[in-house]
């Protein structure tokens, strides 16, 4: 390619950049330390999530237990109300219309 040749003749393809002294000697140690830190952080996150989930399970169990203990007598008191509600909900629109017409 003619244009490529022109660029090559004028600029060459040598590397004009350089790095600080010892950069490549020290880099592997730096990156391995960063990986170690990341591993530690991931372990902490994993343990925190596990602890949080265990806390959720425990508090849910506790709440359900206390709810059951507190609400047992109430369920008995409410049973008549629930039966009435069920009866009313089975009344269809036609029956309501008839009732209203008769009331007039």
């Amino acid at each position: 390619m003619n244009e490529e040749k022109l660029i090559m003749e004028r600029f060459g393809n040598e590397n004009p950049f350089r790095v600080p002294d010892n950069y490549f000697n020290e880099f592997p140690q730096r990156i391995m330390k960063r990986i170690e830190r990341q591993k530690r952080r991931r372990r902490i996150i994993r343990w925190s999530i596990a602890a949080m989930l265990a806390g959720c399970v425990l508090s849910t169990t506790f709440l359900v237990d206390s709810f059951k203990q507190q609400n047992l007598p109430l369920e008995a008191d409410n049973s008549q109300y629930i039966e009435d509600e069920l009866d009313y909900s089975m009344i269809n629109n036609m029956e309501i219309a008839t009732y209203l017409t008769e009331a007039e």
Binding site: M1, P16, F17
Partner: protein, 180 residues
């Protein structure tokens, strides 16, 4: 040159994983660094991107199935990281500053740039290319990489790479015709 099959087996073994990865870092740090540095230009940015490249590789080790060479896989991560970095940077700086010779002036005052004004100007011309075209130009022109290897790394057909390189060369010569 490392034994690929052996290093892959060691990377899959938890007791040897870190040692094998350290070998990978030592083997490929320089070639990846220069690929990254030519794209991001400053040493500090290249250092950040190189660290991110190896961290990403470490986290993705379990996904590496050996379908491509380790070197191609690492190059792919490095190029993606570099292009991502350039996109982010482009959004945060004034794009017109490139055309004003901003980069070549910056390079001439960079303690880690040994080139002269002409080489700084070439870097400025390259910097005006779209990011992927810049990567293609650097790989071919400076690293003299084969199109087959570039195709594996960039996931682009050889024909498209040849066309991209041709366009890059044309744009760079046009830049010098306008600035001479």
């Amino acid at each position: 040159m490392i034994d690929e099959a052996r290093i892959i087996a060691q990377l899959k073994d938890d007791s040897q994983k870190e040692k094998a990865f350290n070998t990978l870092v030592q083997e490929y740090q320089e070639v990846l660094y220069w690929q990254i540095r030519r794209l991001v230009i400053s040493h500090d940015d290249a250092d950040d991107v190189l660290q991110n490249t190896f961290l990403k590789a470490w986290l993705a080790l379990d996904d590496f199935r050996g379908e491509s060479k380790i070197s191609s896989w690492l190059f792919r991560i490095a190029i993606n990281e570099s292009l991502g970095f350039l996109d982010k940077k482009k959004r945060s700086i004034d794009i017109s500053s490139d055309a004003d010779g901003y980069l070549s002036n910056q390079l001439l005052s960079d303690p880690y740039f040994d080139g002269d004004e002409t080489q700084a100007l070439l870097q400025q011309a390259i910097d005006l290319l779209p990011n992927k075209q810049k990567a293609v130009f650097n790989m071919k022109y400076f690293q003299e990489m084969k199109y087959e290897d570039m195709s594996q790394i960039l996931g682009t057909s050889i024909g498209a790479l040849k066309a991209s390189y041709h366009h890059a060369v044309k744009k760079i010569t046009d830049f010098f015709q306008q600035n001479d």
